[in-house]
């Protein structure tokens, strides 16, 4: 590295300029119109929501963009809802056909997974260069079924490997224009995070069980409350640990990233968000999302080496929205 390039090493902040109040108005109109159109508008609502969040995110003076068209989303959505309804009915009333259908669908889920990812990436752009995703069936199959199964069979010992493989698959098959992304985390990183959670979690569970089985008044209520608090703490910890790990090991060509989320902050935001959402009968939801997004973005930075001007656009691609919509309905 020459000294000129060393001089050009810069730290760039991700800046989220979205405003909770502004988004609330968009969100509430989204819901109202979705209701009035019996759900048809929901495709437009999704596009507007994503556009708002993408466009409010700035890096090095330029913002991101969400490019999807509502009609494509609507088509995918209608098909996804139809399939979902059929499966739901079959599962209750005609078990055999349902199982057969599931057996047929299960091998197709990796395809849907890849399609959903490809669509989402292609609809995202930064500085007018689109992202890409180029997965393959075998790796997707292993990520969805193989590695998690292995983790289960080894009583969790290999589960960190499942997480690692999934993140590797997601990152290494994504690209910004023609530039590939790399992921440098290892098994130990994930194992450390889970182990650190496991021991206190086990102890906490004993505590909850002890309270539930004891003769303390309202023992059920107390142990449920403890369970909820424990769950929240665990969620905050995992979110912070995994997000920090992810960005610290993400590499885009010669540029690197850093993440500095803190468990206490995330937990605080989660708790206050939940309380406010309940207190406002759900109306605080959009503001909550903006708040959490802003905290996360404020704590991610890019260590760029040189300028970001020299990325090249990738080839044209035609990907349908069906994959993404199916992924959303079946929670893939």
């Amino acid at each position: 590295m020459t000294s000129v390039e060393e001089q050009r090493a810069r730290t760039l902040d991700f800046e989220f300029r979205g405003d909770g109040y502004e988004f609330f108005k968009i969100w509430i109109v989204n819901i109202m119109l979705s209701i009035l159109t019996l759900g048809v508008y929901s495709a437009w609502a999704k596009v507007r929501t994503n556009r708002y969040f993408y466009s409010s995110l700035y890096l090095d003076g330029a913002n991101f963009r969400y490019l999807a068209e509502p009609l494509a989303i609507l088509r995918g959505r209608i098909i996804a809802v139809t399939i979902f309804t059929i499966l739901y009915y079959l599962f209750q009333y005609n078990y055999q056909v349902a199982l057969v259908l599931l057996a047929v669908l299960l091998p197709m889920f990796p395809v849907i997974y890849n399609q959903a990812l490809a669509f989402q990436r292609r609809m995202s752009s930064y500085r007018n260069i689109q992202f890409r995703f180029n997965g393959n069936y075998l790796d997707a199959f292993m990520v969805m079924y193989g590695w998690p199964l292995l983790g289960l069979l080894t009583l969790g010992i290999l589960y960190p490997l499942a997480l690692l493989r999934m993140n590797q698959y997601l990152v290494r098959n994504s690209s910004y224009g023609t530039a590939n992304l790399e992921f440098t985390a290892g098994y130990g990183d994930y194992a450390r995070i889970l182990l650190f959670l496991f021991i206190p979690a086990a102890a906490f569970l004993f505590l909850i069980l002890a309270v539930a089985l004891s003769n303390i008044p309202y023992s059920v209520a107390v142990s449920s409350a403890l369970g909820y608090i424990g769950g929240l703490a665990a969620a905050a910890y995992l979110t912070v640990a995994f997000t920090n790990l992810y960005y610290r090991n993400l590499i885009l060509r010669e540029h690197r990233f850093e993440a500095t989320l803190k468990v206490t902050s995330v937990a605080f935001i989660m708790v206050t968000n939940s309380l406010l959402i309940v207190a406002t009968l759900g109306l605080y939801l959009p503001v909550a999302k903006v708040r959490m997004t802003r905290y996360i973005c404020d704590n991610i930075t890019m260590h760029a080496r040189g300028s970001l001007d020299d990325f090249v656009a990738a080839e044209e691609e035609k990907i349908s929205a069906l994959g993404e919509e199916l992924g959303a309905v079946f929670d893939i």
Partner: protein
């Protein structure tokens, strides 16, 4: 208006100025420090593809393939659009930027959701379920087989007892022959009764033993027949689909990282379940009275069941009852007993 120009081939961007002549010619002048920068782009207004206004996010004007001019001067873009295409500022933006409208929309949405989950969804589900052919929901002869595999053990009632009960119940089953009810006894280690979509009614040995006399079990029989008569299984299915989809597409679209996502669907599903139980209880009340059996018998059995499930009912006050019944699939025993006090005049 000032903005940035992206050529769509590389990630480099340059400051640029967009101007328009009165006859619709758009000029984009790119400011490049290097002397060999691109010449000003000239195009017609109709070549531009302009994104709709969304809050204060930057506006994108795309043209000629992948090139884009973005600007944060939304008002200028609106003026441009107005002047050359006559369309006024986006209707959606207008809706999304007025506070009063947001407030009105909030009230409307909350009211609508409350109405939907208490009346709308159940009503729609009932409408749909009543119009679907019975065949769709009656076909599962294997429902009981699956439960036999997973949960039930064969009944251990004495054949004499079973025969006696079947004889006692026969006339009542006959009254509702159109529901094609079939009676089964199973062992489950807990007093309970089930109605299955195909008309099967299952009573557990433990329930039979818990009952003090046959009239109590007749009450249970009518309760289960009530589930069949009102097509609760079908309605629950339709409701489940509608609620699941609504939750995915209303709340799920926002994808927050807090723990509240599953809660609404669960609470709603449980409250609908309680409504079904109330309906079945009302049916039982009406049928018991029509057959000259005191409904208090059924109430007594409910009390015995509750005692069997908890160490002691004791001094739980009414408000705790209401709260405790929130996460439960059945209304509180207190409420059910009140309904079954006596026959209506």
């Amino acid at each position: 208006m000032e903005g940035r120009y992206f050529d769509g081939r590389t990630s480099r961007y340059l400051a640029a100025t967009l101007s328009a002549t009165p006859d619709g010619v758009i000029r984009i002048a790119v400011h490049d420090e290097r002397e060999d920068g691109p010449p000003p782009v000239e195009l017609k207004f109709t070549d531009l593809s302009i994104t709709s206004r969304l809050g204060n996010t930057p506006r994108e004007l795309a043209f000629h393939g992948d090139q884009v001019f973005t600007t944060e001067d939304n008002d200028a873009v609106d003026r441009l659009v107005r002047e050359f295409s006559g369309a006024s500022t986006g209707l959606l933006y207008k809706l999304e930027s007025r506070l009063l409208l947001a407030v009105a929309a909030s009230v409307f949405t909350l009211a609508f959701l409350w109405f939907a989950f208490t009346h709308g969804v159940p009503g729609a589900a009932e409408f749909i379920a009543n119009r679907l052919p019975d065949r769709m929901f009656g076909q599962s002869d294997n429902a009981l087989d699956i439960l036999d595999m997973r949960m039930f053990s064969p009944s251990e009632l004495s054949p004499a007892r079973e025969l006696h009960l079947r004889a006692t119940f026969a006339p009542y089953l006959q009254q509702h022959a159109e529901l094609r009810p079939r009676l089964y006894f199973r062992s489950l280690n807990a007093p309970n009764a089930f109605a299955l979509p195909d008309g099967s009614i299952v009573l557990t040995d433990e329930l039979v033993e818990l009952a003090e006399h046959d009239e109590q079990l007749t009450g249970i029989l009518f309760h289960e027949l009530g589930h069949l008569h009102h097509k609760h299984m079908a309605r629950r299915l339709v409701q489940g689909v509608i609620v699941a989809l609504m939750v995915v597409y209303i709340i799920g679209d926002v994808q927050t990282i807090d723990l509240l996502n599953g809660l609404p669907a669960l609470l709603i599903g449980l409250s609908h379940s309680r409504d079904f139980e109330r309906e079945a209880d009302s049916f039982a009340l009406e049928r018991l009275c029509a057959n000259g059996i005191a409904p208090a018998h059924l109430a007594a059995l409910f009390l015995r069941m509750e005692a069997a499930y908890h160490e002691g009912v004791g001094d739980a006050d009414e408000r705790m009852d209401a709260v405790a019944s929130l996460p439960s699939t059945h209304p509180s025993t207190r409420e059910r007993i009140k309904l079954l006090e006596s026959c209506p005049r």
